[in-house]
Amino acid sequence: MLDLVWLIPALPLAGATMNLFAGRRLGRRAGWVASAAIAAGFVVAVLVLLDMASLPGDERAHAVELFEWISAGSFAVDWTLRVDPLAITMALVVTGVGTLIHLYAVGYMEHDPRVGRFFAYFNLFASFMLMLVLADNYLVLFLGWEGVGLCSYLLIGFWYERPAASSAAKKAFITTRVGDAAMLLGLVLIWVHTGSLDFDTVLGGAGSLSNTVATTISLLLLAGAVGKSAQLPLHVWLPDAMEGPTPVSALIHAATMVTAGVYLVVRSHALFEASSVALPVVLVIGLVSALYAALASIGQFDIKRALAYSTMSQIGFMFFAAGMGFYSGAMLLLVCHAFYKALLFLTAGNVLHGLDDEADLRRMGGLRTDMPVSAVWFAIGALALAGIPPLAGFFAKDHIVGFAASSGREAVWVLASVGAFLSALYIARPLFLTFFGQRRNQTNSHEASRAMNAPLAVLAFLSVVGGLVLGLTAEGGRLELFLEPVLGVPEHGEAFIGEVALLTVSVALAFAAVGVGFWVWASGRVNWQAFPERQPELAGWLANAFYVNALYAWIVQHPGKGFGRSLTVVDDLVIDGAVNEVGTEVGRASRLAPRIQRGFVRSYALAFLLGAVALLLFLAVRL
């Protein structure tokens, strides 16, 4: 069964091909084809998992060589897939959550005329994402990496008639390209210093690399991860990416693609550990991104943008965990986050559907009477994210914050706890603004169809029990034990406060944040709408995410435009001038040429004769 792992990415690829060529003829059945393709991939992944579970822990890593890909001199890369606990965990998340989102999208995209193309891109994305997580060397991983970037571009700009969507697509593509260029350099360096791109060779030999080399490679890989996972400073594309259809936001920009950066760091942890500064950099980037995005999320009024910043913040937590060396904790949060964030996004999709694409939180409110089912889903997702026990997010976040307490630096634990508090606050906000409080919208809202709510029920169930199942056993987290052969046992220090105290603080913070959220945004006792007028400066900083976009515009865009304008002058005067001048001169000459073409054959013959005579004379003289 392990040898059949190639089927996992191949099945969605087959679905994509089918929808690409026959999508128009399939019409609305395209969605079912796509869902069946990825669901089949999920089934194969489950079978692979069962097969793997029957093996002892240290024999679970398995490389399946499919064919030789590149062979040029000493540079050789094979098309090899890898099955190990880490890869299969990611593959299960991608196919499992992916299937549910595909099923949801069947209902969501029902009325779109280009539904076939949508599902072709959607399946293609799944295929590339699976290639990324199942790769056994950095080049196959990079191929998947670029492939998901392409699909992200195509899907953000799916409604390309809207200028905002097409420019958001370009922004996402170009911003991540900055990181990808660095990552490609990292791959080149890996090959130069280890002579291979295979995970086993590279990561096994990482310890013998010098500190400088390991640091350079890790930081270059990290740049790629930061771009893809929308962390500071390459995060600006993620909020804009919400222009895409909501299932896209759920699948690509919440559950799977943006977590690829975390996967890359976790997968390459041996490289990062070989360097003295790489992991602390990961930690700082993650923690700063988590706090920054949490604050920015509180300032957003577009429900999807608020969720986008929350995704960025959660991924910041994953980077933070990885930076502490707590890779299995990062993976636990990744999996749980995939459940509840997909649920939150898709429920937001329900709301947009029910309100005729109204996305502004200020014009929602009190929707729980009209959309009771969606309200329950959103509440489950939000409470799971907030870390209310015993929902999924509680275990994931508690493990990470608890690990921070034992990392030996109290400040890190304090900042992580602040981040956890802010997470609960920023997710309580859309919950209360959308479904509670007074109605601020008089349009007739309606509950989503049953076909759309069914996948959400599964996601809600996973958000409730996911943490219990994956994060809790007597000997430690079940997922953490499963991943141990790949990621090793994290080095625990001595926590400076007791376990019970930690738990109490963590739970109290979560409840406090939700309580504050209710008091501010749902009780009606606080006039939150007046906040922008009373504190225009603070509200502006939050709503514009600390003006990073404006800063980039000032640093990159304006000089770029000026440079472009100066190039236009050169283009107009020098290049166009030369081309036009050549054209004018040729035209003038060509008006002279016809005068010798009079049409009299005999004059041509005479010219011919004279020419021949001249040539003969020339030869005679020379000889």
Partner: protein
């Protein structure tokens, strides 16, 4: 006694000159065509003569090639002349000046 090669070459040169003058001075396409044939045959004669002089058969072989090509060319050329004549009721090359710049 063998006839000196120069005789043949002189005849060939005279034939070629007559042909060339014919091409240049005559108006009738048919006559021009005949003059061209004259030039071709002058060249054939020169080829055969020099071939004989050098005891090398290549020139004679080339003469056969040029005859074959000339025959093929006559077919095409006459067909064109006949078509032009049918269309304009004249075979004068000075009337056919459509292809001028």
């Amino acid at each position: 006694m063998r006839t000196p090669i120069s005789y043949f070459v002189v005849v060939s040169a005279m034939l070629f000159a007559i042909g060339t003058i014919g091409v240049l001075v005559r108006k009738n396409a048919l006559v021009i065509f005949m003059s061209v044939e004259l030039q071709l045959n002058a060249v054939n004669l020169a080829l055969v003569s020099f071939s004989r002089m050098h005891n090398n058969l290549n020139g004679q072989v080339l003469a056969f090639f040029s005859m074959v090509v000339a025959a093929a060319e006559v077919v095409v050329g006459l067909a064109i002349i006949v078509t032009v004549y049918r269309r304009r009721q004249s075979a004068s090359v000075d009337d056919a000046t459509v292809l001028r710049g």
